[in-house]
Point group: C2
Chain length 422, copies 2
C-alpha cells in the first residue's frame, strides 16, 4: 500500500452486511459513498452511506448530528477521513457495533434516493479533447479544436435547478430550431435529443471569494464523484449557442447518480497523467508533479440504452459505448479546481463540476450519440432491428461506472438512469 | 389611474416617515422595495422594506412570520399585493400603526444590507441590441449581430456564488490572456477590467420542471428588479469564450443593489414595446398583445465613476453614461421568462435574470467601458485630468436607476456600488 492508502482500503476487509461481499457489488466496504435518501415512513431527506444493497443512516448510527449533507461536505478532509474510518470499522466483520447499526440500515430498494446534496452552482467543463475535436468538426468543420483548448480548461456555467436524481423521467424539451434552408426558426420538440456521458465532481470545503486554490490544495476541496448525464438538444444548441454558449439546449434536465464516491475511496485507482508528445506544457498554475504522477483516475464508464420496445420484449439494455476517464480527459479534477478559482471565484460545498462529455480516443468510446452517429447521419442498429440517430420518446439511458486495479477491491459508482417522455 | 394601479400608487399618499417625502428620495411610500438586512445588535439577516432613509423590519412589525426572503418571494402575487397594501396603509400618514411600527424601524445607515435573497441560479441575458452590435463588432468585425439575435433572447448561465452586495470591494481577477502576436498565453491580472450596466430581475413564484410559463403568466413569476453590475475582464473573455461562452471573465464578482423594487411598484412606469420597422415579429410563444402595449418599463439608468484621486481631492463622482431600459432592451422581462421556461426549465423563487448590458441607441448611452472607449482605444478624459480606458485599482463604480412618469411619484432603485482593489 502507498502512503495514502490506509486500513479502509485493505482488500482483505469484509463487512457483516453480506450483500457488500457479492462479486461486482458496487458498494463493498472499501467504497462507502455518501448520499441522501428518504423512506415512506420518514419523508425528510437524511444522510446515508451505501453498503452492499443497504444504506447506513448516519444520524441513526450516531455518527453525525445533522441531516444536512452540505454541512458534512464542508468538513476538513481530516475530519472526513476520521468519519470514514469509523464507518469502515463499524461495518467490518466482528465489529461490536453490528447489533446497534443493524437498526440503522435501510434497504436501498425501499428508499428514495435524492440528488445527493444541494447544488449551489454547477459548472460544466469540456475536458475530453476527443469529444471537443469530434463535435468541433460538426459545428466548425474548418476549425474543430480552437487555439485555446490545450491551454484553458474550457468551462461554462450550467443550470443547478434542473439536475434530477437517477430514475426520474423528464419531458422532451421544446425550443427554437432553424431547419436547414429556411430563413425563420420554428418552435417545436427537439428532434435531436442526445445524452452526454460525464463525471460530476462535488466540491467539499469551499474557498473564500478572492482566494484562489492552488494545485497543491485543489484535491482537498473535492468531496467525491458521481455519474452525470448532461442531456442535450443538439438542434436547439446549434441555433442558440452563439455567441454566449449553450443554454436551453442543456438546462431542461441533467441526471445525477445518487452516490458520491469520495476521493479517499478513489485513492487505489489513481494513475499518472501525461499529455500527448508535442502538446504544450500547462501553465504553472495548472501544473504540479503530484498531478502528473497521480492526478488522473482509472474509472471505467459505460453507456447503455433500453428502448420502449426492448422493454416490452424483455430485452436487456444494450451497451452503446465504453471508455475510461483516464484516457478521455485532457484535464484532471485538480486542474479544474485550480483553474476555476484562479480569478478568485468562490466554490461552495456541494457545488458540482461536470467533466464534460468523456469520449475516449477511439470512435467506439464516444460519450454521445452526436459522435456515435456522426451527427445523426449514421444511425446505430440495435439488436432487435430498431435504429437510433437520436433519442426517441420512452428511451431509457443508463450510465454506469466502476474502478478496478491490481491489489484493490473493485468499487462502483452505481448508475445514472433517465427516461425521456413525450 | 389604469386598472392595475391601486391606492398604493396614489401620488397624494404621504408617509409618517418624513424622510420618504424628500424630493428625489428613492424610497417614497409608493415604492416599498424588499430586501434583507442585519444590524450590529442582531446579526441574523431579516426581511425589510425601505421607506425614506429607514427600513421597516417586517417581522418586528408583525407583517410576516419568517426571516426567509425566498419564502416570501414564493407567495402568490395576490398575497404579495395584500402584503404591499398593509405596508402602505401602516406607513401612511395618520395610520394607527405608527406608534407600534416606529419600534420596527431601523436606520439604513446603521444596517448592513445583504444580497436581497438566496440566489439559486443566475442567468444573464443579452437584451440590448445596441450592446450586442457594438461588442459584436469588436469580437467579430465581419459578423457583429448573429442571425439568431432577433429571434432568440440570447442568454447563458452565470455564477450565483460570487454575487456580492453593493458596497463590497472585490479583487482584480487574474487569469489567462494571450497578448497580441504571441503564441502562448500568460497568467496575470486582468488589464481590461470593465463593468456592465444591467438590471437584475428576481423571480418570485417558480414553475415546476417540465412546465413552461406562457407570456400571459410570465410577469406573475417576477418578484422585482434591482441594479446589477456584471464586472467583466475583457482580456480574459476574449481568450476563453469560444466555444462555450464567458466563464472566468465574469464569475469573479457581480454587484447587486440591495432593494428589489416590485413589479407592482413599477406599474406606473410601463411603456409600449415595439420593434424597429422591418424587424421580424417574435415567434408566438414570445408574443402577446399586453406585452406590446405595456411590456417595457421606463427606468432611467446611469453609471458613475469615482477614482481614488477624485476621492482624495473630494471630487464627486462623474457620470459616464445615462440611458433608459425602454430604449435599450430588445426583449421584455416577460419574454425572458417565457423563453427561459419554454423547454421546461424550472425557475425558483430568488433566481436572478440579468438583462445583459443595457446600452441605449446612442454612443453616450453605452453601458460598458468597452463600448465607451472603443475597446480601450479612445480613453475617457475625466474632469481632473485622469484618463480611463478600463478600470484601475481603487476605482469605485456606481449604478443608479429611477422611474419617472406624468402623474406618478418618482421611485428609485437605490444604487449598486463596487470598488476594485489590487
Amino acid at each position: 500500500m502507498t502512503a495514502e492508502l490506509n486500513e479502509t482500503h485493505d482488500p482483505a476487509l469484509r463487512s457483516w452486511v453480506t450483500s457488500a461481499d457479492q462479486p461486482d457489488c458496487d458498494f463493498p466496504i472499501q467504497n462507502l459513498p455518501f448520499g441522501t435518501f428518504s423512506t415512506a415512513g420518514r419523508r425528510e431527506a437524511r444522510i446515508g452511506v451505501a453498503i452492499g444493497n443497504k444504506i447506513l443512516d448516519l444520524q441513526q448510527a450516531g455518527l453525525v448530528d445533522t441531516d444536512d449533507m452540505n454541512a458534512l461536505m464542508a468538513f476538513e478532509p481530516q475530519k472526513m477521513t476520521a468519519l470514514r474510518a469509523l464507518i469502515s470499522q463499524g461495518l467490518a466483520q466482528s465489529s461490536a457495533r453490528q447489533p446497534d447499526w443493524e437498526a440503522a440500515l435501510v434497504d436501498q430498494s425501499a428508499a428514495t434516493l435524492h440528488v445527493p446534496c444541494r447544488i449551489g452552482d454547477y459548472t460544466d467543463f469540456y475536458t475530453s479533447v476527443h469529444h471537443a475535436t469530434t463535435v468541433g468538426k460538426q459545428f466548425r468543420p474548418d476549425n474543430p479544436l480552437l487555439p485555446n483548448y490545450k491551454w484553458v480548461p474550457i468551462g461554462y456555467h450550467g443550470r443547478a435547478s434542473s439536475i434530477i436524481p437517477s430514475g426520474q423521467a423528464f419531458k422532451r424539451p421544446h425550443g427554437q430550431t432553424r431547419p436547414p434552408g429556411t430563413a425563420a426558426p420554428v418552435l417545436g420538440p427537439s428532434m435531436r435529443l442526445d445524452y452526454e456521458l460525464e463525471l460530476g465532481w462535488f466540491m467539499g470545503q469551499g474557498n473564500a471569494l478572492g482566494q484562489p486554490v492552488n494545485m497543491a490544495d485543489a484535491e482537498r476541496h473535492i468531496f467525491g464523484v458521481a455519474l452525470f448525464n448532461d442531456w442535450s438538444a443538439r438542434d436547439i444548441q446549434g441555433w442558440e449557442y452563439q455567441p454566449l454558449g449553450p443554454f436551453l439546449s442543456k438546462n431542461f434536465a441533467s441526471t445525477i447518480s445518487p452516490w458520491m464516491v469520495t476521493m479517499e475511496a478513489l485513492a487505489p485507482f489513481r494513475t499518472a497523467f501525461s499529455r500527448p508528445e508535442g502538446d504544450p506544457e500547462p501553465l504553472a498554475y495548472l501544473d504540479a508533479r503530484r498531478n502528473r504522477e497521480a492526478g488522473a483516475f482509472s474509472i471505467t464508464l459505460e453507456v447503455l440504452l433500453q428502448t420502449e420496445r426492448m422493454r416490452s420484449e424483455s430485452m436487456p439494455e444494450v451497451r452503446l459505448s465504453k471508455t475510461n476517464m483516464a484516457s478521455a480527459a485532457y484535464w484532471t479534477p485538480a486542474q479544474l479546481v485550480a483553474h476555476h478559482t484562479v480569478n478568485g471565484c468562490n466554490l461552495r460545498p456541494g457545488d458540482l463540476l461536470g467533466s464534460g462529455t468523456l469520449s475516449g480516443p477511439t470512435s467506439s468510446e464516444a460519450g454521445s450519440l452526436m459522435e456515435l452517429t456522426a451527427g445523426g447521419k449514421v444511425p446505430i442498429a440495435l439488436p432487435n432491428g430498431e435504429k437510433r440517430s437520436f433519442l426517441e420518446d420512452n428511451d431509457t439511458l443508463i450510465l454506469r461506472g466502476w474502478c478496478e486495479a491490481p491489489g484493490a477491491v473493485r468499487i462502483g459508482l452505481g448508475e445514472a438512469r433517465g427516461t425521456v417522455v413525450g
